[in-house]
Symmetry: C2
Amino acid sequence: MSAPASAPTLLVLDADPLPRLGSLTGRARIEHADATTLAERLPSADVLLVWDFASTAVRDAWPGEGPRPRWVHTASAGVDHLMCPELAASETVVTNARGVFDQPIAEYVAALVLTMAKDLPRTWELQQQKTWRHRESQRVTGSRACVVGSGPIGRAIVGTLKALGITTALVGRRSRTGIHGPEDLDRLMARADWVIAAAPLTEQTYGMFDARRFGMMQPSARFINIGRGPLVDEDALVEALSKRWIAGAALDVFEDEPLPPDSPLWQVPGLIVSPHMSGDTVGWRDELGTQFVELYGRWEAGRSLPNVVDKQRGYVPGH
Amino acid sequence: MSAPASAPTLLVLDADPLPRLGSLTGRARIEHADATTLAERLPSADVLLVWDFASTAVRDAWPGEGPRPRWVHTASAGVDHLMCPELAASETVVTNARGVFDQPIAEYVAALVLTMAKDLPRTWELQQQKTWRHRESQRVTGSRACVVGSGPIGRAIVGTLKALGITTALVGRRSRTGIHGPEDLDRLMARADWVIAAAPLTEQTYGMFDARRFGMMQPSARFINIGRGPLVDEDALVEALSKRWIAGAALDVFEDEPLPPDSPLWQVPGLIVSPHMSGDTVGWRDELGTQFVELYGRWEAGRSLPNVVDKQRGYVPGH
């Protein structure tokens, strides 16, 4: 490493590629770890960059012996994969990639909403069968969406759906101006045409979309999850679809990722399965790298960091 | 018929269903025709309602002998299927369904744009193969669209794409405020990410999207046609897709409709085929019926009609 001995040690939980990190040359001694070496290298690190955002290695390695990094940054919006009681109780500051995924995910949700309204999956199927079958489709203008999760992603989704003429309600952890509290959720879900899960995964949100709530939805309504898999009781969703409690669903996130080939979810009629890609538009890794380099500059200058996660709550608190 | 003998004869070129027409009971002697009987019944009709908007029976029957209806209304935006020189030269007023399809078609175009940007067709394919394969998708915010056709449908498309953060250029028959003339088309197509055909089918627009113009587009760009099939040289589009001159296309309209099962268009890689349904959202026939009944009320009261087609140009002229 070409950094002076006094430079902080930046430990990177690796995944390829690593754009922009080279710009820290001389300002950090960059070391690398994977799930097998993380525990042993943690004590010598000043900063930990969780670049492999799908890994649960931090949660596993953190409770061990020795000093711990003063700052952990994860290249993801959610922190559920890395949080553990020991990290939550520590002095370590945790930051996330707040902001990078908002607009891409909002567009992805709009794509799913319009795709389902215009019956494009069926159009595909018929095209493969070389069959011309005219159907009536749905207007999204004037329909109602309930977006659950009032962070930047949920708010970006609301902005994009509103731009399409959809009436939106945003549900957060507590009621405040423009945001409904959890006490309104049942009522809002019952009249929504689109229910969109965009909440962080916390003790409060785990399994919140269950049989009771799917049973409450309109039979013409659809459910979309771009948050975290365990927000949803997957068995209950499959039942809701097969019993026609709801008209359709799209999942971009799952309890088990990657979804195993033998998962029954691949072939549930009315269910769209995508591989956790809603926020990942061309250049996303570059944006994540740029964001981290910017935060690193603030950190080495002793300035306050943005995007600081409330480790008890499991997300960056809003206003 | 329960209408008085003095009531005008309204001849309907039939298609099922016929919502709202019952409300003219007593105000019109409603008669019905199909392609085989239209020629014989035309001379006794005061008004012709072309409810079967896919039929070319009017074009075939109109040049015959005898009096002709004073007013022809078609339950469609385009009039290409019914116009013939004899009708164009006549005193008969032709009106269309201007307004009914604008917003639904704009949503449909947005659905296609987002579907292609987010690679949903491939997501489908991979789901059928039970394969988890993460890909990067495209942001539509900041991309560029060139919408060809400056009528209400083209303008609604521009409004919806703008709401999604897409930079749009609208091309019409002549340059005026906010609308480019045909002289700008090549330049705009060459830098567009999305080229959308929403023009009426006229002598000027027939085959306008040809090999030369597809060859001008960016290799990453996509082409969408929701106007009329013959705007596009279909063979040239297939060639442009197979040679990767462009990245993808979606056709909702075709030279031959319904597209025959043996058409090669069904299985061109990168081409989405849908059965002329972009404007047909739930309730569309009801809206078309309501619109005709309203126009009929104006006509019987001797008031001027909206949506009057310029029969030489082949569409309702704008400002």
